[in-house]
């Protein structure tokens, strides 16, 4: 089977960041993302960028993967850089000030993407689901079905590779019957995807149905024993470190 690891997919490993509790990582990611946008340029941004470098190093993530993850956004980022840098009205030319402003914004975006990548490639999907549930636990008092939500997230994460596998098989079967899915203009290609979509939806619904029945067979009601322990000392230290770093960046 063809197996392509998406840039943000979980990569098994035993780095420092892999070992941090998912709850701490979620909170740290939220704090760091807010900081990346709020920190004053240029000194604050430099502090935030330094934080990203530390995170990349501690998680064994290569900067190249960050660039790969950014690839889909490259065009938009490039356009925004140009739009801010090139002045067409008044005195046409290149505005250094605009370029700098735009470059700073792009750096902030790159930092957030990098941090998100570090998070998603070091945290197992069920741990993410579990962490989200833990952080939302107070909402349970308001009647939010937190347990069900966390299982839904976990199942959704499991279905992503299944769906892509399914798409691949359906396309194979159809191409073998002469369907030309990769040829012709945009319209033809799009309508070709329609042919894939119908069987895909049918098959995913069927599988979802069966999975739901299998979950019920295993007594799933939404209420589950929580497998979370207390935070370790190291985790608390990480949390404090992130808070101190965020304060530095904001006050720089």
């Amino acid at each position: 089977m063809r197996r392509m690891l998406a840039p943000g997919a979980y990569r098994p490993g035993e780095t420092l960041v892999h070992g941090i509790d998912a709850r701490v990582k979620i909170v740290a990611l939220l704090v760091a993302s807010a900081t990346a946008f709020a920190a004053p340029a240029p000194r604050g941004v430099v502090v935030v960028a330094a934080g990203l470098l530390v995170a990349l190093a501690a998680s064994g993530t290569s900067p190249r993967r960050v660039l790969m993850a950014l690839r889909p956004a490259l065009v938009i980022l490039g356009i925004s850089l140009l739009a801010n840098g090139v002045v067409l009205v008044g005195q046409p030319g290149v505005s250094v000030e605009g370029l700098a402003r735009s470059a700073t914004a792009i750096v902030r975006i790159v930092i957030v993407v990098g941090l998100a990548l570090v998070f998603s490639s070091t945290t197992m999907p069920p741990a993410i689901a579990d962490g989200i549930a833990a952080l939302m636990a107070p909402l349970a008092r308001l009647g939010v079905p937190v347990g069900g939500l966390s299982t839904a997230v976990s199942v959704a994460l499991r279905f992503i590779p299944l769906a892509s596998e399914e798409v691949e098989r359906i396309r194979c079967a159809q191409r073998a019957r002469g369907a030309r899915l990769d040829e012709g203009g945009v319209i033809r290609r799009l309508s070709g995807w329609g042919q894939v979509l119908v069987p895909l939806v049918v098959s995913l619904f069927r599988r979802a149905d069966e999975l739901a029945a299998a979950m019920e067979d295993r007594c799933f009601t939404g209420e589950q024993t929580s497998m979370r322990g207390r935070l370790a000392r190291g985790d608390v230290a990480v949390l404090l470190g992130v808070a101190a770093w965020a304060a530095c960046a904001l006050l720089a």
Binding site: R3, S154, R171, R175, A176, G178, D217, R218, C219
Partner: protein
């Protein structure tokens, strides 16, 4: 004790089960046989409380199955399904096994303890930290079983749990189930083949929603009527097994090739019956394929004319080879040839295990005429081809205007096959075509493939059910780790267990028995 007394069930107005009474005691393994649509799955779902009987009563250890006792029944009766991928909830192995006990509200330490115990019992404790979709089909099914065992059920329902697995994985699961039964678990096993008979306490045959026969496995093999009602008469392993017990032999606890060898005669060795001239030829020449640095095919050269079986353990590159041959996967090096010319997508028919993967048009007729139209035929000619194919596969005329997704499983499969044949391909690739089919349907499929071969079509069958395809095959190609380890005539493979072992596979029982019948004591 699981007790069904005079149980009836219907979907809408269609009766699925009528007057079924059945008992499964602790420490007993009851095998439930029957053709597709005989009500086996419905019966097994009644037993674990996920369906409620329309009439009669279902009780587990004295607790009657009602909507209120659904949870209690489900926790007492574990249920393992056919397709492991549709019952795995979590992306992570350990988390998957903990899912059941967590739902029972057990304390954290107890959940951990049970999960570890179940992983160990299934022999997959070393996979604990792996991702579930990285596992092979056999490992996934063991994981499903572990997930159910962690709930410590008193009874177990296996709904054709081995039908998507290869011989070796089926043997591992059978051993595990045997141990559970010895430990006092009551098992109801829905089966589609005769392997389940070994060591069974009782056999129950369902036909048209009623119990047609019930008794001991040896008596089942002696009864023509029971064999016919269950559809198993069409399974190639059944005839020698029946001869064995009729001759006074015993079926025994587990498959015994030596006992079976005694009843096999030379005439049991199959062979291709047609000459080679006038046949089309599908080839793979020096093909290599790798995915992200992982080698799936390594310089593979093979040829197929007549019926060729492509066998191999899971992960051996079978499916990659099949797709390359069908022209839908471009190899990194080498290529696929049809009658000496490079294959392009659409020239070679490709059929998958699940028919719904292949259907996409709005109506059956459109679906059947799709491939001919893509070949450039006029709409009228394409319609003629579609009707011909429909007739050949027995697709009734009144289905042609329906949506293919409204059809029943069996009808859908016929439409999918007809859609492939409508293009009149010179070669066809069948990827796991028989998994999940009952014995008569599997036999019909084998007959279809051999009749195609007689017409000159090169037919490649990728399968984990080597035993039943050997009889209709001309050649066998065995793959292991992306390389061809053997290319032999089918009648050679049919008595050479060592070939299977060399490819890292478990040789089928019939192959081992034939080798023994010919005096090879290593079988």
């Amino acid at each position: 004790m699981i007790e069904l007394s005079d149980v009836g069930f219907s979907y809408g107005t269609a009766d699925v089960l009528r007057g079924v009474s059945l008992v499964v005691r602790p420490g007993e393994r009851v095998v439930l046989l029957g053709r597709n649509g005989s009500g086996k799955s419905t019966l097994s779902r009644l037993v674990n409380g996920s369906l409620a009987a329309r009439s009669g009563e279902v009780a587990v250890d004295g607790v009657a199955s009602t909507p209120e006792t659904r949870r209690a029944i489900a926790s007492a009766v574990g249920y393992v399904r056919q397709d492991p991928r549709n019952q795995i909830v979590s992306p992570l192995v350990l988390d998957e096994v903990e899912f059941g006990p967590r739902n029972l509200g057990l304390p954290r330490e107890e959940v951990r303890r049970r999960a570890e115990r179940a992983l160990e019992a299934c022999g997959i404790d070393r996979l604990r930290t792996r991702m579930t979709d990285e596992l092979s089909g056999g490992q996934q099914q063991l994981l499903s079983l572990a997930g159910v065992l962690a709930m410590e059920p008193r009874y177990l329902v296996l709904d054709e749990a081995g039908s998507h697995l290869d011989e070796a994985s089926r043997a591992v699961i059978a051993d595990l189930v045997r141990r559970l039964v010895r430990g006092g678990t009551g098992v109801l096993e829905v089966a589609h083949g005769p392997e389940a008979l070994f060591g069974a306490s009782r056999v129950v045959v369902l036909e048209g929603g009623r119990i047609a026969w019930e008794g001991l496995p040896d008596d089942f093999l002696r009864s023509e009527g029971a064999l016919k009602a269950s559809g198993l008469a069409d399974d190639p392993l059944v005839a020698p097994l029946a001869e064995l017990v009729r001759g006074g032999g015993m079926l025994g606890e587990r498959p015994d090739p030596a006992a079976l060898a005694a009843v096999l005669t030379g005439s049991d060795v199959p062979g291709g019956e047609v000459g080679r001239s006038g046949r089309h030829r599908l080839e793979l020449r020096n093909a290599s394929v790798s995915y992200d640095g992982l080698v799936a095919l390594d310089d593979v050269t093979l040829a197929c004319s007549g019926v060729t079986l492509l066998l191999g353990a899971s992960g051996s590159g079978k499916t990659t080879a099949a797709r390359t041959l069908a022209g839908v996967l471009a190899p990194d090096a080498g290529g696929a040839l049809l009658d000496g010319a490079p294959v392009s997508a659409g020239e070679v028919g490709l059929s998958f295990q699940r028919p719904e993967d292949q259907l996409f048009a709005d109506t059956v007729l459109e679906d059947l005429s799709f491939a001919p139209r893509m070949l450039g035929l006029s709409p009228e000619e394409a319609d003629v081809r579609a009707h011909e194919a429909a007739e050949r596969l027995g697709v009734a005329g009144d289905l042609l205007d329906r949506s293919p997704f409204e059809l029943s499983g069996g009808q859908m499969r016929r439409v999918a096959l007809a859609g492939v044949l409508a293009a009149h391909p010179r070669a066809c690739v069948f990827d796991e075509p028989s998994a999940g089919l009952d014995a008569p349907a599997r036999r019909a499929l084998r007959e279809l493939v051999s009749s195609l071969a007689r017409e000159g079509v090169a037919a490649l069958v990728v399968t984990h059910d080597a035993a039943e395809w050997l009889d209709v095959a001309d050649d066998v190609v065995l793959l292991a780790r992306g390389r061809v380890v053997a290319r032999v005539e089918a009648k050679e493979a049919a008595r050479s267990p060592e070939l299977f072992r060399a490819a890292g596979m478990e040789p089928p029982l019939l192959v081992r028995a034939r080798a023994m019948a010919q005096g090879d004591s290593h079988a």
